[in-house]
């Protein structure tokens, strides 16, 4: 691969200043906050830093490089794009829990002022209820795979952006809720069991949607044939790979999430373990 090929790959297919701004600001603020914390001898672990930067980079790459061109013209690569936007990248970012780093970068966070706007707080807490977030997570996957809506999204650029950015935002909300819910001091066990249950429950519809696409005998999404598959791959193979990506790795992310959650549950200080809350004389 020559330097020109690399440059061609790095050029966005549909340039979006909005994505540059959001990703650039997120990275910039993170680096500023990280430097400040490090100077005070604190800060996240190198692994958390890596997870955050990798998550952000993945979102940028699937949205603003030549990859997006291929994702527009192959169902399988489109499904991989959504796997990254909805599952993998937000998972990494939420796992890295960068809120302390951002707080160090912007001490008087405008987000706090935004949260004080009437209606925003309750709305946020509402969609961050584990069951609501889980339903939202699955419904969004299903919605954009309704063949007619999928066709419209692939033809209309604003709708296409809404779909992709919506997947990233919902992914962040969902995994954020999973890994960073509540204030650990006031609600130590905040719905740990419920969150694990939601992780398990969202697997079933994803398996159902993915397998019904992978095992279908008909070309469900003819928009890819209509708009030209840019790699020599036949329609059914493309659809089967896309279905498998929606089915197996997507559902496996629930297992990975459950492992993270289970470990955090076990790491809770003994002082807040359920038996410690029972009043009475200690042995």
């Amino acid at each position: 691969m020559s330097a020109a090929d690399v440059l061609t790959f790095l050029m966005p297919y549909e340039p979006s200043p909005f994505v540059w701004l959001v990703c650039g600001m997120a990275l910039g603020l993170f680096l500023v906050g990280l430097r400040r914390l490090r100077r005070r001898g604190r800060g996240p672990s190198p692994l958390a830093v890596l997870a955050f930067v990798l998550g952000l980079l993945l979102i940028y790459v699937v949205l603003q490089t030549r990859y997006d061109y291929y994702a527009q013209h192959l169902f399988s690569l489109h499904r991989l794009q959504h796997l990254v936007l909805h599952h993998v990248a937000p998972f990494l970012i939420a796992w890295a829990a960068p809120q302390a780093v951002f707080a160090a970068a912007v001490p008087n966070s405008p987000i706090r002022r935004f949260a004080a706007v009437p209606g925003v707080g309750p709305l946020y807490r509402g969609i961050q209820q584990p069951v609501v977030a889980g339903v939202l997570f699955v419904v969004l996957i299903w919605l954009w795979l309704v063949p007619r809506l999928h066709l419209y999204a692939m033809l209309n650029l604003p709708l296409y952006n809404l779909m992709n950015w919506g997947m990233a935002v919902d992914g962040l909300l969902f995994w954020w809720m999973m890994f960073n819910m509540g204030d650990p001091r006031s609600a130590p066990g905040a719905y740990f069991g419920l969150r694990l249950l939601v992780l398990a429950l969202i697997m079933a519809p994803q398996i159902l949607i993915g397998s019904s696409i992978a095992l279908s005998r008909q070309d469900l999404y003819d928009v890819y044939a209509l708009c030209g598959r840019v790699l020599p791959i036949d329609a059914m193979t493309d659809q089967q790979i896309g279905g498998l990506l929606t089915w197996i790795p997507a559902a496996m992310m629930s297992v990975a999430g459950a492992l993270v959650l289970a470990r955090r549950w076990l790491e809770l200080p003994d002082a807040v373990a359920p038996d410690a809350l029972v009043p009475g004389p200690r042995p």
Partner: protein, 205 residues
Amino acid sequence: MSPRSEACSAMRRRLIAAAALGLLAATWGCGKQEQPWHSTNITGLMPDLDFTLTDGQGRSVTAADFQGKTCLVYFGFTHCRGICPTTLATLAAAVRDLGPDADQVRVLFVSVDPRRDSPTVLDRYQARFGPQVVGLTGEMPALRALARRYRVGFSYDPPGADGNYVVNHSSAIFAFDGRGRVRLLMREEAGVPALAADLRRLVAE
């Protein structure tokens, strides 16, 4: 009531009014029962027809040159063995079906293979399908821009021993009305009668 809560309730009233208006508009839209098209209605989903390309005589032509005509845009290449000639033959037959109104329609065949499809080659090719088929091509940047505008892709397979190569391209037929607005996504498989019926409606508008 404090001024703040008053402002709040005024805003809420305005919001409710806007929502009610939106709902009304939506139900009114549903009330207008329209015959479904044979093809997929994509009105408003894509940008208006706009291009600067070269025709079979080597002249520069733009979308404005086709104002007032119902335009069908199809991407392909003249060395195509299967789908391009089949599609163009189907479209030509559907256009002929309109009788005297056939002249209100233009089939814009955009070749995405400018290396082999010179204006001369295109001119000879379009003659096979009748006077309403117009072969167009252009420089690679213009073709890429047009393909991106209509969200279609094309690519070239490696050439065989004889130097010939296959071009992977779209099969969609985008129909634009006389004002250059995108209206329908047509499929060749729909067949001549269905395509002709849709064309007749578009021309009659």
